[in-house]
Each structure stands twice: as C-alpha cells, then as structure tokens.
C-alpha cells in the first residue's frame, strides 16, 4: 500500500480494546460478592491469601488500610486507596490472575471485583455489580487524589513538520 499501515475497524480491534475507565463504556456483565468469593478462592487466594491480606512484601493486600493514609504506616489497598471501581475492573481484567491474565469473562470479572469491594465493606454481599449499578459504588478514597496539572496546556500539532515528512500520507485532521 502507498502509505504505511492499514485501516482497521473498531470491531476488529475489540479483543484488544480492554480498557475500562470511569469515562468509558463498561463491559456488559453482572456479579455478586457471593459468587465472586468462589472465584476469588479458586483463582486469587493462593497468592493474595484466603482473607485478602496478601503475603509479606510479595503479594499485595487487597483489603484494609482505610483511614491509614495519613499515618506513619499507610496501607494502600483496593479499599483504602483506589479511587474508582472501574480501575479495579480494568486492572483485574488485564493483569489478573497473574498466571493467566485476560482469562476472566465479564461476569466473573464483575463477581470477583465485587467480592474485593465487599471484603473492604464498600458493598453488601448480595450487591449485583454491573454496568448500571457501578455508579452507585462509593470508594472511600474517591476524593483522595490531587491532580498536579502537569498535563494541562496548549496542544500543538506540528503541522508543517508532519506534512513535510508524510506528504500524501498526511490525513488532515
């Protein structure tokens, strides 16, 4: 092809399009802590411990630490530190379980993450976590972050340079 690269449809990309965030669309699925507990015990507890307290400095604790952030021994966990449940869904979907990343289906994902929220006393054990209910989840540290503003400022596209070097392959915005 005259221009390097091939057009591709968003549909084709979907197996890679795995990010989940508070500003983006959510996967369709549903789960409760009750179901999530079994998944947790089967797929997570070996590393993170039966109760989610982690293992030494090796496997992080997934519960506890709420109220510890301003102390001399802050414990940063899903419960105490993570600002939004979407980020937990995102991370667990892409990276956990460590030995088999990207192996959880959407229901299992909602289930096991709802279980993590449950053991942090954020939701009750029968809470159905899904793309609708997630907005009602209130993370304890949701207001705990201060934006440095480093990303702000004028966005400048180097028009002339790109035009010079891409020629006809330059797609005007």
């Amino acid at each position: 092809s005259p221009c390097p690269g091939e057009p591709i449809s968003e549909d084709s990309i979907s197996p890679w399009n795995i990010d989940i965030s508070r500003n983006g669309p959510l996967p369709q699925g549903n789960g409760t802590p009750l179901i999530g507990k079994n998944i947790y015990l089967e797929k997570c507890a070996a590393c993170h411990g039966a109760s989610g307290d982690g293992f030494m400095d090796i496997y992080p604790a997934l519960r506890g630490g709420i109220g510890s952030l301003a102390t001399k021994t802050p414990l940063r966990t899903v419960g105490s530190f993570w600002p939004s449940p979407e980020s937990v869904l995102d991370y667990v979907r892409r990276a956990m379980p460590l030995n088999a990343p990207q192996s959880l289906n959407a229901d299992d994902l909602y289930s096991v993450v709802s279980y993590l929220l449950y053991i942090n006393n954020i939701i009750p054990q029968d809470f159905p976590l899904n793309e609708k209910t997630i907005s009602s989840v209130k993370m304890p540290n949701r207001n705990g972050f201060i934006d440095t503003g480093e990303e702000n400022g004028k966005i400048t596209f180097p028009y002339k340079e790109v035009q010079d070097r891409l020629g006809n392959c330059f797609r005007k915005k």
């Binding site: 500003n23 090796i58 939004s84 990343p101 797609r171």
Partner: protein, 397 residues
C-alpha cells in the same frame, strides 16, 4: 584479577627496579576473529551486571544498573535496568503490530515494516523509574549506588515520532489523552497527555543502534522523554485516543505520591532534576590520599542540565563541576571534578540545576516538605561518607 570498572580496587604492587614482564598474551596469538559474531564483555568484567533487591516472584520486579562501573552517558543494552510486571515476553515481531484508535479519524494498524517505512528520529535520553531512590526517602538504607540509584539508564532511542503516526490516522478535536498499552501479561497501561504525545514522544523500535532489547520492550516501546519510567510502555501494542485520562492502576494505586494529609498527588509525570556521584561512592575504598576524580551523573525531566556543584564537606562549601561531553535535553549528563583526598573524613555530595530553573535539595528538606510517605519522585541530594580509612558509606543528611 579484579574488574577494570567494577571498583576503585587496590593498586597492584609494582617493584620499580625490576624489568617489565612480557605477558603470555603478547607472546602468542589471541582468539580468532568472529569467535563471537555478537560480542560480549571481557570475563574480567563479570561482576558488572544487573542486580536485584526484589524478593522472588517470577516476572514481577526490578533489576538495577551498575552505575558505579559505567562511564559516559550511554548504558549498554545488557545493563539497562529492568522493571517488569509480568516478566519479559518473547514476541515474534512478524506477529506483532501497533493499533491506533479511539478519537482518531481512521483507526489503523501498523506492522513493524510499516513503522520502518515511516520517517524516523533518534535521540538520547534517560529513563528513570519514579521509585528510584524511594528506599532512601527517610533514611540511608542501601550501601552502594547500584542499589540506591540503579533504576536509571540512558540510551539512544530510534523510532517514529508519535505525531507522525497521528498525522496518518488523523485526530478528533476533543482528544486530550492517549492510552498506551503493552502486549505483555500485565498489558501495562498508562495515560499520556496528548500535549506530550505531540511534543516529543517516540514509538521506538531501536535502542543504542540495534533492535530494542527484550527487557526494554522488543519489538516496540513508547519513549516519553523525561517522564517516569513506567510511562515508557514496553511491548507496545495499542494507542487509544480519548478525552479523559484512563485512570489505570499505575496512575491511581501506584505512581501517585502520598502527602502527609493522606491525599495523593496524581499525574506526577516529570522526573525532577537530580544527580549522584558514582565514583567514589558507597562500598568503594580509597587506597591512598592524592589526586582522584569525582565523577557523577546529573539529569532532569525538565530539560538540560545547566550546572552541577560538588561538595566534599557535606554541603558547607560547593565547587562547580565540569560538565563532560554532551549536554542534552532530558538526558544523563556526566560531571567530573579533580579532587585531592587528604586522607581525612569527607562527605561527598552533588547538586544539579536545570534549564527550567529547578535545582536539587537535600533529602532532609524534601522530607520535611513532603512527609514520610512520598516514596516516588525522590530527587534529594545523595551523601557519601569517606572515612579516614578510605571506606565509603551511604549517609542521610
């Protein structure tokens, strides 16, 4: 035999009256050419290697560059520090591609060959993990500069400016952020401000002249000059443009900076101005008084280094060091200063300044300002104590 660059080792004794020996390697031919089609260091340098403090957990962890043994500003590929979250994937470049989508005019997929056909740029810049020297935030913990500062390396990177790639895909007017994602088992992901992406970010396929090393993201890595190491996404497979940051784990649970009030600074990207003396440094021993070279590295994510001052008396007096060789934007800069050690106690420190007007403060001052829990982005002044016996240790000042 001791390694040439490994330590300030004991001088070999010389009997000055005796005639010089003619060693065996002068009296016989050496190894044939092409003994190694791809060469390796001398066996006498076997101690100049990466080391780790990570407790064993497979691919999750980091290794440290042996800074005390290195010279100039280039880190050889084999000694570049490692930080992986799911180990080092062994990617077949013919099976790999980069997808660019989201708020673009036309989602596109680029093979390695496609990227090689696009215009390329090369630049030298450092990569520092924002956890580098984190262990030294509130006290001196580790003995040598590999252990304190070794999450730091510097390479010549070659690839395609991200702005050219976005020139091919086009962009929507509301795009503000770029999600960058790896093909490793952690699918490591970070949100990059579009402002930065269009400024100096590169989709790199080469490092120090050759293809990226597997530990550095073979076959593709995002290079975000001056930003914390973790944002230079390795094994890059996907870039997605969006209006908002993506709030990935590595910019919420990790790489945010906990302040005394329990709030955490988020999106702290740029690595501050920093420097460290690497020779002499912790764990070395000066074996005789007299002329030495004080030699170190300075760098800043904000731009070029403008000055480095060195103190040998723990910060009471400062002398301008010589900046050696190239002084480049967001790049390691080497400084040197001749020093006559008088055999007395000395405390060696360095303090760097950058062109954006930043300078390095003592750990004590930073610690007082940010509290106990910051950990990331520690750019305090490092102090090495030289004792009367010449032994050098890490001290907290």
């Amino acid at each position: 035999g001791t390694a040439l660059l490994a330590t300030l080792s004991q001088k070999s004794k010389k009997s000055e009256a005796a005639e010089l020996d003619i060693p065996s390697w002068t009296r016989e031919p050496g190894a044939p050419i092409l003994k190694k089609a791809y060469g390796a260091p001398s066996s006498f340098e076997k101690d100049v290697v990466r080391r780790t403090w990570t407790k064993m957990r497979g691919g999750q962890g980091s290794t440290l560059t042996p800074l005390a043994s290195l010279r100039g500003i280039i880190t050889p590929g084999g000694l570049h520090f490692e930080r992986h979250h799911a180990g080092v994937p062994d990617i077949d470049p013919a099976q790999h591609s980069l997808v660019v989508h989201g708020l673009v005019s036309q989602p596109m997929r680029f093979s390695l060959d496609d990227l090689h056909r696009l215009p390329s740029v090369s630049r030298i810049c450092f990569i520092e993990c924002s956890g580098n020297t984190g262990t030294e935030w509130t006290k001196a913990t580790r003995a040598d500069v590999q252990s304190t500062h070794g999450l730091l390396s510097c390479s010549e990177w070659t690839g395609v400016p991200l702005s050219y790639i976005l020139g091919e895909t086009g962009m929507e007017a509301d795009a503000r952020w770029v999600l960058a994602e790896g093909a490793d088992g952690a699918a490591m992901s970070r949100s990059i401000p579009l402002k930065k992406a269009l400024d100096d970010v590169i989709v790199a396929y080469a490092q120090n002249g050759e293809a990226l090393r597997p530990e550095q993201g073979y076959p593709l890595r995002l290079i975000c000059p001056g930003y914390e190491g973790n944002m230079n996404i390795k094994w890059l497979r996907r870039l997605k443009l969006g209006q908002y940051p993506f709030y990935t784990r590595e910019e919420t649970s990790k790489y945010t900076d906990l302040m005394p009030d329990g709030k955490a600074r988020q999106f702290s990207f740029t690595m501050g101005v920093k420097s460290v003396i690497v020779r002499p440094s912790g764990g070395m021993k000066l074996t005789s008084p007299g002329l030495q070279e004080i030699n170190g590295l300075a760098w800043s994510g904000h731009g070029k280094i403008t000055k480095v001052y060195v103190s040998t008396d723990g910060g009471k007096t400062w002398i301008a060091a010589r900046l050696d060789g190239l002084i480049l934007d967001k790049c390691l800069t080497r400084f040197t200063l001749p020093w006559v050690w008088n055999g007395q106690k000395a405390i060696l420190q360095s303090k760097a300044y950058d062109e954006a007007g930043n300078f390095q403060e003592t750990r004590q001052i930073l610690h007082a300002r940010y509290g106990d829990n910051l950990y990331y982005h520690n750019n305090g002044i490092q102090s090495w104590l030289v004792s009367e016996t010449g032994d050098i240790t890490n001290v907290f000042i």
